[in-house]
Amino acid sequence: MWANREPFLEILNSELNMIGDMQPEDIAGDYKEVTLDLYNSVNRKILYTDIETPYPDGKLIVSTTDPEGNITNVNKSFIEMSGYSEDELIGAPHSILRHPDMPPAAFKDLWDTVKKGDKWQGFVKNIRKDGGYYWVKATVIPNIRNGKLAGYTSVRRKPSRTNIDACSKLYPTMF
């Protein structure tokens, strides 16, 4: 019986890695709706508002992913700022935070950079579970263990308002 468990685990894993549409009952305030093509033709309905959650002083948002970008660890600040529970985040693709105002070229640059083994740094507008958003200064590095890629670590810190304003003007021109 146990010899046949692997196909079931694969199904379970694929379900864990699915990323569901955002739900109206989770959203705080008036929202707009758009469907994003996240990756590998996976679409997600995004419900988003104009409500910004300021990045808290003195904190870092930290997460790790597997080589495919599925979340393997999050810290408390990640949970607080994203609005998701730890159970909802672990196993989900990191694109669960993808905001429609972020140009796809930014994430292409991120993946192209880290897949070469380099660090990537940039300013990112993330979406919360409640449809609001928060800006971060993000740094992503590959985790190399015994010479092999084990995953990625992403650390976010508080950006300056100057950088947020500059990116708010630049990003709409990159679509």
């Binding site: 002083d57 003195g58 870092l60 660090k119 650390v155």
Partner: protein
Amino acid sequence: MSFMFTVSPDFTPDHLSGWYIFNTWLQRQTDIAIHLEMYNDFASQHKAIKEGAIDLIYANPFDAAMLVREKGFLPLVKAEGVADEAIIAVNTESSIEDVAQFEPGTKVAFTDDPDVKMMGMIMLEPGDLDADNIVPISADTYILVAKHLLRGEADVGIFLAEVFDGLSGMVKSQLRVLVRSQISVIHHCLMIGPEMMDKRELILEKLVQMSSDEQGRGVLKSLGFENWQKVEDEEMEFMIDLMDTLMI
């Protein structure tokens, strides 16, 4: 032959004798000859590490990557419940209420404690301050960082939170905390080098059991914490990756 043990020069001065007591305890417990060498600053400690003179080190997290990746060190233990956190503070009479109010040319006082300086500079980033546009004021101790603020010679100071909290009431009453870090995962670590690696399990066993007898608890108290906690290799790798993201 005796092995060489050293402690990151940012240790709290009150615990200097504690490290000598700890080294005596460790030698008695393990029957290994270990000489404790304390360096006055990071530059002289780094020189000793580069020359391969160090076998055991209570290391600043900033040095962990170099020790593991270049020198073949591995982690043993960390102080339980103790993390390195930083504070940025101003004189109470400062008009600055938020980091965003700082302007280029801000005079920033700090010590050569590398991880605390790094965390402090990250907390100043939301004010568009960086190494290229601040006026650095280097100080030998955190007391001198406080003095620079009190005399109006610096606009903001970077402190190890533990040291700031231990400043006298009179000094603290003249300073105002702007931001206190809440990072939790950056910590010092006792690490062992290649020449001593065959003693790793023995030393680890003694350290994690240290708080189980009265003498061990007394030595730990002299170091300023209650217990050692094992650091897994992956936990150290995670901290190295984390520090790596913060250095740019």
